[in-house]
Symmetry: C2
């Protein structure tokens, strides 16, 4: 989608050090959606002032939502991660792609009663969120799927053996799986060929870790996309399915919501395409000042760093 | 490559039952390159007349070459497969994508002396062919790579730990691997990011088995293509790197060679783009008469089935 939102062609406001501008900006919004890595912290390192800035927002009556494409963690896991970084939060403030996927399956997809099971490629975070929404699933971390493909498997799959290909599976959900294997891919392919809906928690091809990149959830979907000639419905940023799910949960007024992020292409685009009232870029992550000011996808405003908002308290 | 060879816009000759036409066609060629599945056999079932047709060609002094994208088997393995189907052959008549890849690495790539190692994603067929060409390799079927990724691995890979990322690796070769895992993908990605050449034995997304489809070698490359934003050099059909390797070995006159296959898009295209003197389609596999007669890639001639050549003996 190279779609350009009207707002993205104007020059963003630079708000660092502009106390009046900051005040005016903040007054426009009741809800702040936060991308996390690159905004609140980087890797295992919390940025100075993150905690105080979140406190400032809450103190001013703003709803804070942490939006993450990380599908390996449940919201409860993610809250622990925030806590480990010294950031107070509660589970209700967290919106992960695993949760978004679960909500999409349970509340938006209208699955026939005999096709309600989800075949999961992914880790326990997805399973926990599916359980929360009472969505039945198979696969995931089940050790029965962590094995080599056997000659018999080809025949059983070809024959549609119901002990290997569960006839009740109506959805294939692919997230980041550190135990991806040939059998899991073969099963996912055959479920979709038999009519299951193909979903992905998110399609980020890479996952940042230790200052470099590793295979991301999108890399788990890539073989299936190639085999099927079909893209999954993606439930993470910048997919609007995630925005719909967030709205479904928080019932906010989009015109009074602002997306905060470090990446023009995903975070800012997510907010623009979601018709939020505002988008706020920060320069502590991937995108540069040039990206925000001259790029094809521009935020309404930007800051050097999130904690520049603390100028309001001085 | 949507490139159309001049020969592909003419109407192909239909040679079944046309004895004079068959004679004339055969006389044009000294070498016949055969796609196998869909031409000589289907699955585990050898077509009637295959053995006799190959005998007829050999008796008439024709060189027969079996060309297969199957990378899991070495040529010796493949000869056993042919034998199991009742088809006499010798290893020198077989050209597999694993062999093609080994020749490409050993004879065509000019690797610096400190970057001669190949990191393999694949099975023993590739390893056997690399050994034949004295190409040093790591990975492949080594059990050390058949394990889960550990937290330490991220740090070791990020730091370029030479006990995990061998500094002598100059090539990543990806073929069909029934033991694909997260660690193997992470290592392949980092080798290419560090400058290794990205090769694939072949890029068929699927692998036929038991009358249906399973993940093919291309599905092993798919996550890396997505992460790297880069396609591998593919060594199987229809890549001309494979044709060059075949020519390098058999030293044939391309104008006196004919590619025989059931798929317009891969087999026939492979022969046309390789400027072979002829291409021969058969209707016992994927492509239909309409594909051959009206499609964008047309053979010089086609037969209902390969054994229609036996009319020459009657």
């Amino acid at each position: 989608m190279a779609q350009t939102h009207p707002a993205s062609t104007t020059t963003p406001l630079y708000l660092t050090g502009n106390k009046a501008g900051l005040r005016e900006f903040l007054d426009k919004f009741d809800v702040f959606l936060f991308d996390c890595d690159g905004v609140l912290w980087s890797g295992d390192h919390c940025f100075p002032g993150t905690v105080e800035t979140l406190e400032l927002l809450r103190k001013n009556g703003k709803q804070v939502v942490f939006v993450t494409n990380n599908s390996t963690k449940s919201r409860a896991d993610y809250r622990k991660k925030l806590e480990g970084l010294g950031i107070p939060s509660n589970v209700e403030e967290i919106f992960s792609s695993s949760y978004s996927s679960s909500i999409y399956i349970s509340r938006i997809l209208q699955l026939p009663s005999n096709k309600r099971k989800v075949y999961v490629i992914g880790e326990s975070g997805i399973e926990q969120e599916l359980r929360t929404e009472n969505v039945p699933f198979i696969g995931g971390t089940d050790p029965a799927y962590r094995r080599d493909v056997e000659p018999e498997d080809y025949k059983r799959i070809a024959a549609g053996d119901p002990t290997l290909l569960d006839p009740e599976v109506g959805v294939v959900l692919v997230g980041l799986d550190f135990h991806l294997n040939y059998l899991k891919l073969a099963l996912a392919y055959h479920y979709v060929k038999r009519g299951a809906i193909f979903l992905a928690t998110n399609i980020d091809s890479t996952l940042p870790n230790s200052g470099t990149l590793f295979p991301g959830a999108g890399s788990m979907s890539a073989p299936l996309i190639m085999m099927l000639g079909q893209d999954p419905v993606a439930l993470g940023k910048p997919s609007q399915a995630m925005m719909d799910a967030i709205e479904g949960k928080f019932k906010f007024d989009r015109s009074r919501a602002c997306m905060v992020g470090d990446r023009a292409n995903t975070d800012i685009r997510f907010g623009l395409e979601g018709n939020l009232g505002g988008t706020l870029g920060v320069l502590t992550g991937v995108s540069s000042k040039e990206d925000f000011v001259d790029g094809p996808v521009r935020p309404l405003a930007y800051l050097d760093k999130l904690s520049d908002l603390l100028a309001l308290e001085q």
